[in-house]
Symmetry: C2
Subunit: 426 residues, 2 copies
Amino acid sequence: MNLAYRERTQEELRRELAAVQQQYEELKAKGMKLNMARGKPGKAQLDLVSDMLRIIADPDDCISDGLDVRNYGELTGLPAAKRLFADILGCKPEECFIGGNASLQLMYDTVSKAFTHGLLHSEQPWSRLERVKWLCPAPGYDRHFKVTQSFGCEMITVPMTPTGPDMALVEELIRDPEVKGMWCVPKYSNPDGIIYSDETVHRIAKLKPAAPDFLLMWDNAYCVHEFEGDFVPFEDILTLCREAGNPNMVFEYASTSKITFPGGGISVMASSVDNLKYMEKLETIQIISYDKVNQLRHVKYLRDKEHTLELMKKHADIVSPKFRCVLRHLDEQIAPLGIATWQRPKGGYFVSVNTEPGLAKRTLALCREAGVTMTGAGATFPYGIDPNDSNIRIAPTLPPVEELECAMEIFCVCLRMAALEKLIAL
Amino acid sequence: MNLAYRERTQEELRRELAAVQQQYEELKAKGMKLNMARGKPGKAQLDLVSDMLRIIADPDDCISDGLDVRNYGELTGLPAAKRLFADILGCKPEECFIGGNASLQLMYDTVSKAFTHGLLHSEQPWSRLERVKWLCPAPGYDRHFKVTQSFGCEMITVPMTPTGPDMALVEELIRDPEVKGMWCVPKYSNPDGIIYSDETVHRIAKLKPAAPDFLLMWDNAYCVHEFEGDFVPFEDILTLCREAGNPNMVFEYASTSKITFPGGGISVMASSVDNLKYMEKLETIQIISYDKVNQLRHVKYLRDKEHTLELMKKHADIVSPKFRCVLRHLDEQIAPLGIATWQRPKGGYFVSVNTEPGLAKRTLALCREAGVTMTGAGATFPYGIDPNDSNIRIAPTLPPVEELECAMEIFCVCLRMAALEKLIAL
C-alpha cells in the first residue's frame, strides 16, 4: 500500500506504525554502528590517491621554480601551487595565497583578522563595532555559521532557492551598513547541491553594500566535484567582482580535501592583489609559510586542471553508486508517502532532505538509537536552529555501499516512524 | 698591532681606518651575495633528514593507533604525535595539542584568541580592554615581539641576564593587572643562546601575577638543539607551574622546524588539560585537524626523544663548524680591539654580538653594501628599537663554511670600520 500518509485514515496509519515499529526493532537488533555525520571520503577514495605519498622521495624532488621547498620562506605559497589553483579556479596566480590542509582555517583567519585588525577598506577593526550582521543563506554549511557565531555576529538567514540565495532579499539587506558579509557555496552548495545560476552569481558580484568592507566569503569547496555527468564550468568570481567595480569585495576559498587527502591536503585563498598584499602584511606575523613540501606533492600529483578533472572522474566512479543508493531508497520508500522532498545533486558531498515540518529531530534520534549517526538536526541553519525542524543532510560517501544500503533502510524506516507518530498524534 | 681601539691615538686610529677601508673595498669587489638574516638550516641538514620523505609510502603505512591519518578527524592531533612531544618536553601526552608546520602559528592563535574570545580565566576578551601590557625579555625573538605589537600590546623591555630575564623586575612588573603576559625562550634563548637557570625557571613558575589570565608564552624552540656537548636536560614547566599553584598560566611551544624540515615540519602547543579543553572548543571552529599524514611521518621518523637526540647529534656535526668559524673570527679579529662582546652558546641558532653603543646599524649597513645581509639592527628589541644600537644577531647555519668564512671576514671588517668612524668623529 503506497498511498500518501496524509490521505490515509487514522486506523490505517496506526496499522502502518505498528508494522514500521516492528521493522525498526528488527533493524535495531542488527547492532549497526555507522557515523555519517560529516562529508568524509571513503577508504577507496583515499587509496585512489595514495600514489601521491611517493611523489616526492629525494632531495632532488624538492626543488620547485628554483626554490628548495624544505626550507623556510615563500609565505604566500609556491608559485607552482598558485598556478595550479589559478588554473582550477580561473583566476590569476598572483591572486592566490596557498594555505595548509584546511581552507576552513584560511576562512576563519580572514574573519578573525577583520575583527582584530580590520580589512583593507575597514574604518576600524570589527571588534570595536557595536554590532556586526552577517548573511547566511540556509540551509548551509554548519562550520561557516559557527565561525561567524563564534565572533558574535548577528546572523541573518537568507532562504536558498533552486538558483541560489534569495537575491532580492540579499540586495535589500546589504543596504544596512551593519551587514558586513555573506557566506556562499556557489557550486553544489552544502547541503542542497545547488549550483548558483549565472544570474545569481552576476547579481552577487554587482552588489553595492553599504559597508565599505563588506566581505563576500566565496567557498568554492566543490568546484571540480562532479560525481555525475561532465564538469560544469563556472565564471571567475574575482573577475566578475572586478568588472562590477567591487575588486576587493570577495575572498574565494578551495582545497584539495576531497581531491587528495582530507587529513593532509592543501588550500587556497584567492582575492585581489590589493587584498592579498594587505593580508600578507598580517599573515607574515602569524606564519613563515605553510607546508611547502606538501604543496609541491600536490603540484606534482595533480599537475593542472585537466589532470585534476580526470582524477575527479575516478572519484565519481567510487561515490556515484553511493548517491544512487541514497536516491533509490528515497524514491522507492519515501516518495510515495509524501512526507519529504529532496534535491538530486550531480556533485558535492550531500543529499539534502526536507521532511514535513517537525520530523527532522525525531527521525535523527531514531536513527542514532539504531546505530546510525547523521548530521545533527538544525546544523544546516544559523545557531543550529531549523525553524521548521525539517532539513536533514545525508552524507553518503564514507561507508561502503553495502553498509550504506543498511543505513538508508534504517533512515527510511525512522523517517516513516517519525511521520506516523506525528500524524497519529494530531 | 692589536691594541684596543680606545687606547690608540687619533693618528693611529686614522691610519687603521685607512687600512680597514682598503680591506673593505677589496672584499666588496668579490661581489658576495649572502642572506644570513634568519636562522635557516643549511642544505646538508635538509639532506640529512630527507629519508623522512619516503617513510610513508603506502595506504598501509597510514594507520596510527587504528586511525586512518589520511581522513578527517583528530583535531588535537594523533595520539602517537602527542606521545612523541610529551617524551621530548617531559609533559604528558594529554597536555599536547599538535599543530601544523609552524609553532609561530599556534602562538599567534593563542594571543589572537585571548583578544577575540579571552583565555580560560579571562573576565572578557582582551580586545575590550583599554590597555594590554606585555613583558619582553630583550634581546629576544623579533617574531615574538611582532605578534604582540600587531595586537597593540604595550611592550615592556625586561633586560636579559646570563641566567635569564631580570626576575626582580619581572616580579615587580606583574603586580600590574594590565600586564597580561611574557615571552620566554628558556633554552638557548634567541638570540643570546642563554639557558635560563633553574632558579629563574622556578621563580617564573611561582609568579603571582595580578592578572588572573596572565599568559606565560614558553617557546621551547631549541629544546633539543645542542650543537656542542651533551643534551642539557630541562625541567617540565607545566609541572613546575602546576606545583606552584599556577596550572593554567603557561603555554609551551616547540616544533620540528630545525629537527626535520623548516618548510614542512610539525609543531606542538603544550598546556594544562583544562587550558587545552578550553582552546579545543575554539580550535574546533577554526580547523578540522592539522595535517595528520605529516604528523605520522614525524612519529615514524623521529620515534622518541632518545632517537631524536641521536639525530640532533648529526645536525650538530654539520652546524658546529659554522659556530666555531664565527667565534674564531670574533676572537681573533675583534676581541683584542675591545669594541664588542659576545655569547658562546652551545646550542640554538645564533651568536649574539653586543658592540660598543651606536655601532650596530652602521656595521650592518656596511655588510649589506658588501653583499652580506644579516638580521636588521634593532630586530631583537620590542618595536625594533635597540636603545643602545648595539645588538647584532649572527645566524651562521645557512651558508656552507667556505662562504661563512668570507661573510665573517666582511662582518669583522665592517664592525671595525664602524668603530673607527665613531672614535675618530669623537
